[in-house]
């Protein structure tokens, strides 16, 4: 393997990892935009998407039906989470800190439940297409990575269209800018919050379904993925969907080259250091300045 194709291989690995992070980070940023809360349970929805769809597929449902149902279940669970935990806490005037800790609580409860239902055993989901890996300039590409990449692109396009061209999307943006003003013109922030948690549940589950053929699905797969997605979101500026995607890819590439050129042990540590440094030095994210200019 020539050094050039080695570098290309790292890049491809990085893009694959990055597209996974980016996909999850999108969900994160959407909820944050609408509700002002980081949903730290998001990683567990990724797990749920993967494990539920595998269970349904194993129960005899066609693959597509299993996917759709898993996404719906996760979305419903997201809605339940908002209604039973987030909404009452807000009504009781809980601080943002309390709300964030509540999402962590929900997250570990879901993780424990997955463990109880599925055990520690890893599960497999077949890849979406039966193609063999192919080579580009000496580097190998796994078809499933293209699926993940494709989903990330589709999600971004859909979100863009939603925010730019639909009434609801504009309402959401209005609320992000000024909650009180939005309420004055008849937008109900509470309903938006419910919608946001539902949507992130679905988005997380979707990400889980797409990555499962690459990673296997285990009850604890979501935790690290979720955390990396936070790093991606923070890198890109937490309110910025394109930023989150670029942040995801940057993190993936950073990790891949980190392992390839430096060594593998400190890979996750690197991500944590990057996250903390960005929060301290550039809280708007590396792209934040472009968008806000302030």
């Amino acid at each position: 393997m020539s050094p050039e194709s080695q570098l290309l291989q790292y890049l491809i690995s990085g893009l694959t990892l990055g597209s996974i992070y980016a996909l999850i980070a999108i969900g994160l940023v959407v909820t944050f935009n609408i509700t002002g809360i980081f949903n730290l349970a998001l990683g567990e929805f990724v797990t749920l998407g993967a494990l539920v769809s595998i269970a349904l597929y194993a129960a005899g449902l066609p693959l597509i039906a299993a996917f759709a149902l898993a996404v719906l279940i996760a979305a419903a669970l997201g809605a339940v989470m908002e209604r039973t935990a987030i909404h009452p806490a807000r009504k009781a005037n809980a601080t943002i800190l309390t709300l964030v800790i509540i999402t962590i609580g929900v997250g570990i409860a879901i993780r424990g439940a997955s463990l109880l239902i599925w055990g520690t055993h890893p599960y497999i989901l077949p890849p979406f297409s039966e193609h063999a890996p192919f080579t580009v300039a000496g580097a190998v590409v796994i078809p499933q990575s293209l699926w993940v990449l494709g989903l990330a692109v589709v999600c971004v396009a859909a979100l863009f269209a939603f925010f730019e061209f639909t009434y609801l999307g504009k309402a959401v943006r209005a609320c992000v800018m000024n909650r009180t003003a939005a309420r004055l013109v008849g937008i109900n922030p509470q309903r938006l919050s419910l919608a946001a948690f539902t949507a992130t549940g679905a988005l997380g589950a979707l990400a889980g379904i797409f990555v499962a053929p690459i990673t296997f699905a285990t009850y604890d797969m979501g935790f690290m993925l979720g955390l990396k997605a936070f790093v991606a979101a923070i890198l890109g500026g937490v309110t910025n969907v394109p930023g989150a995607i670029i942040g995801g890819f940057l993190l993936g590439i950073l990790e891949a080259f980190g392992v390839g050129l430096v060594g593998s042990g400190l890979k996750d540590g690197l991500a944590m250091i990057v996250m903390i440094l960005v929060m301290l030095i550039r809280p708007t994210g590396i792209l934040g300045a472009f968008r806000r200019g302030a």
Partner: protein, 351 residues
Amino acid sequence: MGPSGAEHNNFPGDEVELVLRNKNVILIVLIAALFAVFPLMVTSGYYLGILVIVGFYSIVAIGLGLLLGYAGQVSFGQAAFYGLGAYAAAILSGTYGWPPLLALAAAPLLPAAVAAVIGQPILKLKEHFLVLATLGFGILVYILMKEFVDLTGGPSGYTGIPYLSIGGLVLSTDKQFFYLVWFLAFLTLVGAWNLVNSRMGRALRAIHGSEPAAEAAGIDTARLKLKVFILSAFLAGLAGGLYAFYISFISPSPFGFHASIQFVLMAVVGGAATIWGPVVGAFVIVGLIEFLRWAVPVVLPKAGGEFEIIFFGLILVLALLFRPEGIMSHKRRKQRSEPDAGKEAAGTCST
């Protein structure tokens, strides 16, 4: 307690607390006495062992309680300080041959120093970012414990921790550890008690109520928060050092994210803003684990793994929803909700 100084005037609640103080001192003495005779009645090393562990957790949780309940800050990386203390004690006594007691005394200084360095920038962060930064810090320390193989023994763990000895007395039994740990835990408790009833304690409560208001009143909030953060790291380190000498083998796994969650849980469940709360929280959580370990196989024979975290998650959520001040508080400080009332609107869209 008579009129003991002008600085009390701002806090009408304080007079009540000062009256209560005497009763509470009696209470502490009473419970301390109960603890003192306890090992004489119990011969089982197992139950004593559990109580020793509860003692470690209590010390950590008291520190976290001060941070969470009085300074209004959170740390999801407390297990890292606990681990740093444990490794410092182990390596100083095992690798460098320090006398164990000296190593134990020095152990909390490492996490305290680390807290002093990282606390300055990290405590400037708010809410989510504070949660994520402390969580990220915890994971980072966990990784470093695994990576510095030459120093820490890496993932295989560190063996060769000597016995803890105090002036020729070698501590090797659970009973001896029980007395040592709970002596220190009570000392911590009394220290924390004095702290929250001091000028600094009132300043802390003012921060928790409203930081801008506290600042306006001339309190150096950043400095105070940092002090409490360092103190909490110191206490976690002390508990960690004790843990290392007690178990005499350490590896990174007890110092991971789960442990940090457990500590937060203990502080929150017991009531962070009460002195006894974190200790009760430690008892409740460890008791719950023991109970689940007995009960779950009865109900679900096939269940395995750390599924008790379901309950941890649920309890955390329920506690924050229904008893945000913890089970040890009796709906105290109702006036607290007023300054908070405006926060939702301000916080949610402030980005």
